[in-house]
Every structure is written in C-alpha cells, then in structure tokens.
C-alpha cells in the first residue's frame, strides 16, 4: 500500500470519465446487438417449437396456440401464459394437444413437450426442450430408443366421470414395464428417466382431465 503514497493520484474526473465513457459505449453496443438479433432469435425459437410440435403430434399439418383462462381454453394472444398447442390434420380435425411440462432432473430442470391424443386418450409423442443432463448418461432420455418407445402409446385414460385419471403415469425400473401407463426406466440414467416419468405424471394429472372436459373448445375452431 506504500505504492499509493508515491504514485501521483489520477484526477478522479478522469477515472469517472473513463468508466462512464466505456459504460455508455458498451451499453450502446449491447442494445444494438440485442435489437439487431431479436427478430431472428425469436423466429428460430418459434421454428424449433414448431418442429417439436410436429414431432410429438404425428400426422398434423397445422397448429394453433391456446391459453387456459377462466376455466376454458381460448386462442392465445402474445405474451400469455398457460399455453397448450392444438394440432390439426389436413381436414381441420383435432389430432391432439401438445403440452409443455418441466421438473427437476439430475443436473437441472428438464423441460419437455408431449403430445396428447384426445381421441385415444394416450400420450403419443415426447420431446426434450431443455436439459442439462450428463452427456452419455442422463441425456439418454433424448436418444434411447427403448425409452422413447414408452411414449408411442402411453395410457392416460380418464375414470368414469372424466374428473380424474384412471392410473397416474409412474416410472418403473428398467425392463419391468407391465402396464400401459408405466414408463420404463433406463439403466445408467435412472434419475433422469425417473424424472421424466414423474414430470409426465404430475402434468397429465393436472391437464388431461381439463382438456378432455373442454375438448370442444379446440374442435369448434378447428372446423371453422
């Protein structure tokens, strides 16, 4: 600290000028980049979501976004939450609803998209939107073919009064799946595959009865 005494002090004005000047310049650069890249980033995000929708709802040719408010589904405006995505085939018939769900995985929160076939009361597609699971182990939830087969016809039938699921989706140990509502785990990705089963379980419990009861909300629009 003896240095400070010997070195002549810089005028504080110069210091403030340098910091403020650099700060302003940096702020300007960031704002310019942000504004310049925003449209493209948003477009890419939308495209990625569209691709995922077509993947989880086989056989669709058109999608519409809905939001859940005041006990019913309405076509969504920008910036709304509680979104669900309805997929229609060529003739405008409702093929299924895609839903987003998330939950704690091994490394971080996993965000997934899954397709619900209202007619057959099944989960028919599954896609990982965001995951930081361990490469080579936990990320098998995106690649393992046996695991992905779980989501070709996963049973989410409703009970008699349409208020509740007959059976909640549950994860089971690898190779022990015996019922159509069970999710077979992956050896070497136990926690991650279990997490997917639980995420699906709680999300379907919340949404599937709602969607089934309100399915006319989607159909009316589709046939217009």
């Amino acid at each position: 600290m003896s240095e400070a005494a010997t070195i002549p002090k810089t005028n504080s004005f110069h210091m403030i000028r340098a910091m403020a000047g650099i700060g302003a310049l940096c702020g300007l650069l960031i704002v310019l980049t942000f504004e310049g890249s925003k449209p493209r980033i948003e477009r890419l995000r939308k495209e990625a979501l569209q691709q995922a929708l077509f993947k989880v709802l086989p056989g669709i040719s058109e999608t519409k976004t809905y939001t859940f408010r005041d006990g019913a589904f309405h076509p969504a405006n920008d910036g709304e939450e509680n979104l669900v995505y309805a997929g229609y085939d060529d003739t405008g018939n409702l093929q299924g609803i895609a839903l987003e769900a998330s939950g704690q995985g091994y490394a971080d929160v996993i965000r997934i998209l899954y397709g619900y076939d209202v007619e057959n009361q099944q989960i028919v597609g599954f896609h990982v939107l965001e995951s930081k699971e361990t490469p080579g182990l936990g990320d098998k939830i995106e690649k393992d073919e046996n695991f992905l087969q779980n989501f070709q016809a996963l049973d989410v039938s409703l009970s008699g009064d349409y208020q509740d699921l007959k059976n909640t989706i549950v994860p089971v140990k690898s190779g022990t799946k015996s019922n159509p509502w069970e999710v077979d785990g992956i050896t070497g990705a136990t926690i991650s595959s279990r997490a997917i089963g639980n995420i699906l379980g709680s999300s379907t419990l919340q949404w599937v009865p709602l969607i089934y009861q309100q399915k006319s909300d989607f159909e009316q629009d589709g046939n217009e």
Partner: protein
C-alpha cells in the same frame, strides 16, 4: 519497453523487438494459451466434449479476445491505471454478451449445448491477461496480431481436445459415425474426467515435442 511475456524459459528467440508476424505466431505454438500457458481451463475442460462444441467455444473466445484487445489497445491512453481492470472487464463482458446473442441467432441448438459457458468467457483469464499484459501496452496492429494468434491457438487446442474426446467418447466426428455400430463408446471421455485425461495426454505430447525441439 517491458513486455510481460509468459513464455517458457527455454525459448531461444532473439530478444530484439518482435515483428507483427512474431506476435501472431507465438500464440499458435511457442506461447499456446492452453498447452503452454495453461490458461482458461474452465471452458477447455467443460465444453470440449464434441468437436463442434470445442470449435464454437474456441471461436467465441477468440472473437471476444480480438474485440476486447482492439478496444483496450485503442483506449489505452484514455483509461487511468486505477480503473483499468474494471474497464477491461466491462469491455470483455460487453463482447461476451454480444457473442451470446450472436450464437443464439446462429443456432438455438448450439446455444443449448454451450449453455452457461458462453457467459463464463467473461472470467476467462486468457482474455484479461492479454488485455492487461499486452493490449494495454502495445499498438493497435500488434494487439490485433496478438489476439489473432492467441485466439487461433486457443481454437486449435480446444479442437485437439474436442476431436479426441468425440471420437473416443461418442465414436463420431462432427456428428458422423466413424465406427461400426458394435463399437463400445468410452463414455468417460465425454464426462469431465475425460477432459482431464485428454488434456494430460496433449500436454505430454506437446512437452515432448518442445523438448525434442530444444534438444536438437
């Protein structure tokens, strides 16, 4: 004119004022930021699990290094000594943010796989060390050459790691399958431990080569 160089002691270069080409070449080989200076190890170990990730991370770092070196060199007489580190970090953070947006605009997929490590370029000691040790004391042209050399050296080193780890750990190179399907992937190579193994192997090879060079 004291130029703080972090070269290895065995260098037998002449000590006269180095030319622009020398400033460029030194980062590639003699003072390679990863293999000789061992700087910026966090991204080197973390995102070198595939060749694409390694290349993208290397290029992103090189871009930030180049831009911050340019700005620091231009502003070197304007920044008082007392606030220099704060100023450098501000400049570096700006270009990291710009890079972050740029990568998002290039590919959502790539941005997903690089994850948090893009923001962490801010604290990559390679960039701050070049700003403090070189750009703040040298002309614009020399700083650009230095940044290009160091940046490409960093890309080269990251690529060396990424290529080896992807080939052994996933049996592929830039996503193309290399081996027949019965090849058992060495999963450990794409986990953090594999990063250390590969880095150690490359350091060994690099040092053997240098020793041979010095001995001959």
């Amino acid at each position: 004119m004291s130029k703080m160089e972090m070269s290895s002691p065995k260098t037998n270069m002449t000590q006269k004022d180095p030319s622009n080409t020398d400033e460029f070449i030194k980062g590639l080989w003699r003072d390679n930021p990863v293999f000789v200076q061992v700087l910026g190890m966090c991204p080197v170990l973390a995102v070198s699990n595939t060749a694409v990730n390694a290349l993208a991370m290397g290029l992103a770092t090189a871009f930030v290094l180049l831009m911050s070196n340019i700005l620091v060199s231009l502003l070197r007489n304007f920044i008082p000594k007392e606030v220099r580190i704060a100023s450098y970090i501000l400049i570096i953070a700006t270009f990291v943010t710009i890079t972050d947006y740029a990568i998002q605009a290039i590919s959502v997929e790539l941005h997903k796989s690089l994850g948090a490590f893009i923001s962490l370029i801010v604290v990559n000691c390679l960039i701050l060390s070049r700003a403090e040790a070189f750009a703040s004391k040298n002309t614009l042209l020399k700083s650009i050459m230095d940044a290009l050399g160091m940046g490409l050296g960093f890309v080269f080193a990251l690529f060396c790691l990424g290529a080896v780890r992807e080939i052994l750990g996933s049996g592929s190179f830039f996503g193309f399958e290399l081996f027949p399907s019965n090849f058992q992937d060495w999963v450990v190579m794409i986990l953090p431990a594999g990063g250390f193994f590969t880095l150690a192997a490359w350091l060994l090879i690099f040092n053997l080569a240098k020793r041979k060079e010095a001995g001959s």
